[in-house]
């Protein structure tokens, strides 16, 4: 009885004490948007996140090449760099907000660009087809188009 108790106590304690650990990554770069990123490595990465709580995301920043991801994990740089970094990491939500003509990402972009929120919302809504001409766009395309539209 004593042996059973001690052994099971240890096992159970070990199991549950693994609880409040939070694994963290060594890069500052986040998972970002997935719809139009599409490296083949994404699914295993997402699986890693959902099973282990780890954020093994370094590959995104590297393979994407032009990534606006800051190695320190911060929102930094000039307007253009910030817009690119933001769109890269929020493209899915931005796509929906642009299609609808309202939303948090549009407010944020208006803030970064120091523009009127309503103008940004109207322009993106009207130019959704220009921003997202097909299902294979990437964040760099969208950023360039976004700039053209905002300047027009």
């Amino acid at each position: 009885m004593n042996k059973v108790l001690v052994a099971s106590l240890m096992l159970g304690t070990t199991l549950v004490l693994s609880a409040p650990v939070q694994a963290i990554d060594s890069t500052g770069c986040g998972l970002g948007s997935m719809a139009w990123r599409g490296q083949s490595g994404i699914l295993p990465q997402v699986a890693a996140v959902t099973t282990n709580g780890t954020f093994g995301t370094q590959t995104f920043g590297i393979t994407f090449g032009t990534s606006g991801c800051d190695p320190n994990g911060r929102v930094t740089g000039g307007t253009q760099k910030m817009v690119l970094a933001f769109l890269e990491n929020n493209l899915e939500q931005f796509a929906m907000d642009a299609a609808a003509g309202q939303g948090e990402t549009l407010t944020t972009l208006a803030g970064i660009m120091n523009m009127d929120e309503k103008t940004v919302a109207e322009k993106t809504y009207q130019n959704f087809a220009v921003l997202f001409p097909n299902e294979n766009v990437d964040a760099v395309d969208v950023t360039l188009k976004f700039y053209q539209i905002m300047k027009a």
């Binding site: 059973v4 108790l5 304690t13 650990v21 939070q22 719809a35 320190n72 994990g73 929102v75």
Partner: protein, 604 residues
């Protein structure tokens, strides 16, 4: 009167002299908190693990020596090192212990430029039942930003363990207990935090905005910079993500004494309760529901016609959408788009299909009229108002005619029959739940049951969301052999999976099949293995809950082959008090065992 004055003057002199003779204010709570000193059996010990955090070789255990070394640092020319301790400099300056100005520090200035701090927010993310490391939820900090736009551009400060390369090791948990992993801080844009928790892991985020003075905010940011460079051995249960944040709070406002509340265990939910309970610390609360919760809330607002169009749309059949009035399309299409995102993250969609569906749904959305009619989910059940983590109970009952009294204690955390407010519905963590009994007939005291661990996740399946329900259990319990009426202890383990169906918000039905095993010298062959089938019902209301289950086990030994009926009903007297009745009936070897009990549960 005149005689009296010189005396007062003298008293003042003495006092000033005494103050001047006191060499250093190293015992000030502010200094102790900035150095993360905690009082132990043999005096002070600093929590931070990195050697470079303590300047004096004796600094970890000697706050006075550390203060002397810090004063010396700011009298030296070592600006590089000075740049690592902006908060300590603020302390020295306040007490007139530093005369030179703080050096110009490019990296620290850049840090502040990027963050543009405007305030601080404590974040709590709720339980994530798919990951043992997130069962109890998680806390992190957000440095609110003054940048134009939204708080998406703010930054999250996360304290966690660097486990990379060890996640799949079977020693994962052992290492974590032993403090093998270094704990450290990371900084991330808030939009990344939202993506991770709300969108990928489908967890709610609660934001508690803190009430800080501008000076406190400056000190907070400066101190984050100081500890941001350090690592500390990470202990899963004590010095974890939530505990370290408590020490950060104390460093900024030493009167809070938050770390002192968490000498034993640190459960994230308990820390947000402590922070909310401190006077004038939290000024507002904001709720960011998970993607799944947002989708469910939108679906609830759909009428039949909209729901049918939604089910077609997620299969990319937009014909029924055309029959919806134009003004109703936008809401349905936006919900369908969000659901497709959810499916992709859940691994239910290939990338190619995902892109195609996303694109076509949004194109259709863009062509529909602007504006939406659906409400967004803004209100949730604030976890701060949930029942407390620990529980003790006293009860009486009768087992086959033998009366007993029962005393129980559970250090953590929640069962489906406990008051559900603020907890993830259908999730259970029962840890080290122990009960002792006194049986009247033979006047004996026994350990009745030690429930070492029980994890369950009942997650309803419907046309839109499919999730597996599971239950894992490990306990030591006192059992009777009906053949010879012997009693003894058995270690029981079981792992089961199945499905849950919600008939409505209040009544869920579930079915689980499981693998069962038992071990103990008392058993006829020391052990048995078997399979179990269980069906049950969960009923939950604001004031009461009920779980009824019938379970049949087919085992390699007859003693394990049992049929069990069990009904547990709770009535909540208050947030932290409940009355519970249990009825249990077990059939084995053709013999019956019936047990009825009532107990009063107190959470604390």
């Amino acid at each position: 009167m005149k005689k009296f004055l010189p005396a007062v003057g003298l008293w003042f002199l003495l006092c000033t002299a005494a103050y001047a003779a006191e060499p250093l204010p190293a015992d000030l709570p502010e200094w102790l908190a900035l150095g993360h000193y905690q009082k132990g059996w043999f005096g002070y010990v600093g929590t931070i693990g990195s050697d470079n955090f303590y300047l004096s070789s004796e600094g970890r255990k000697n706050p006075t020596k550390e203060l002397e070394a810090t004063i010396a640092l700011f009298q030296s020319n070592d600006t590089e090192k000075q740049c690592l301790f902006p908060a300590r400099y603020m302390f020295l300056k306040k007490y007139g212990l530093a005369s030179a100005p703080f050096p110009s520090c490019t990296e620290f200035e850049q840090f502040k430029d990027d963050l543009q701090p405007a305030g601080m927010t404590l974040l709590f993310t709720d339980a994530y039942m798919n990951n043992s490391s997130s069962l109890f939820g998680h806390t992190l900090l957000r440095v609110d930003t003054a940048r134009k736009g939204t708080q998406l551009l703010a930054h999250g400060i996360n304290y966690g363990a660097w486990t990379q390369g060890y996640e799949n090791s079977f020693l994962y948990a052992v290492y974590g207990l032993a403090g093998f992993y270094p704990g450290g801080y990371t900084v991330k844009p808030y939009y990344d935090i939202i993506n991770t928790y709300n969108n990928i892991e489908n967890r709610d985020i609660w934001e508690y905005n803190l009430n800080l003075t501008p000076e406190e905010l400056d000190l907070f940011v400066a101190h984050i910079w100081e500890v941001g460079q350090t690592t500390t051995p990470y202990y899963f249960f004590t010095q974890n993500c939530s505990y370290m944040l408590m020490e950060l709070f104390d460093a900024v406002r030493p009167t809070l004494k938050l770390a002192a509340d968490f000498r034993g265990q640190t459960i994230p939910l308990d820390t947000i309760k402590a922070v909310n309970a401190r006077k004038d610390l939290v000024k507002s609360v904001n709720y960011r529901p998970s993607r799944q919760r947002k989708i469910r809330y939108r679906i609830k607002q759909m009428n039949k016609r909209q729901y049918d169009a939604f089910l077609d749309a997620i299969k990319l059949d937009l014909t029924s959408m055309q029959s919806l009035p134009e003004a109703e399309r936008a809401d349905v299409l936006e919900t369908a788009y969000q659901y497709v995102q959810y499916q992709y993250v859940a691994g239910d969609l290939a990338l190619k299909d995902y892109r195609q569906k996303s694109f076509r749904l949004l194109k259709a959305r863009n062509q529909a009229a602007a504006g939406q009619k659906f409400d967004e989910l803004k209100e949730g059940q604030n976890p701060v108002l949930s029942h407390d983590s620990m529980m003790a109970s006293f009860g009486v009952g009768v087992q086959n005619g033998d009366f007993f009294e029962q005393l129980s204690f559970r250090p953590a955390y929640h069962l489906v029959t406990d008051r559900g407010y603020g907890f993830l519905a259908g999730a259970e963590i029962n840890f080290l739940d122990v009960s002792f009994r006194h049986y009247d007939k033979h006047d004996k005291y026994v350990l009745d049951k030690l429930n070492i661990l029980q994890l369950s996740s009942f997650s309803p399946i419907d046309a839109v969301f499919q999730a597996v329900s599971y239950r894992i259990g490990l306990d030591v319990s006192r059992q009777m052999n009906p053949k010879n009426e012997d009693e003894g202890y058995v270690l029981n383990g079981n792992v089961g999976g199945g499905g849950t169906f919600a008939l409505n918000d209040y009544l869920w039905l579930y079915g689980l099949s499981s693998v069962e095993a038992a071990y103990g010298g008392f058993l006829p062959n020391n052990q048995w293995v078997g399979v179990g089938l269980a069906v049950g019902a969960l009923v939950s209301f604001d004031k009461a809950a009920l779980q009824a289950e019938v379970k049949k086990v087919f085992a390699t030994d007859r003693i394990g082959s049992v049929l069990q009926w069990r009904v547990t009903a709770d009535y909540y007297l208050s947030r932290n008090r409940a009355l519970e009745t249990v009825f249990a009936y077990t059939q084995n070897y053709g013999q019956d065992q019936t047990e009825v009990s009532v107990r009063l549960k107190q959470y604390f």
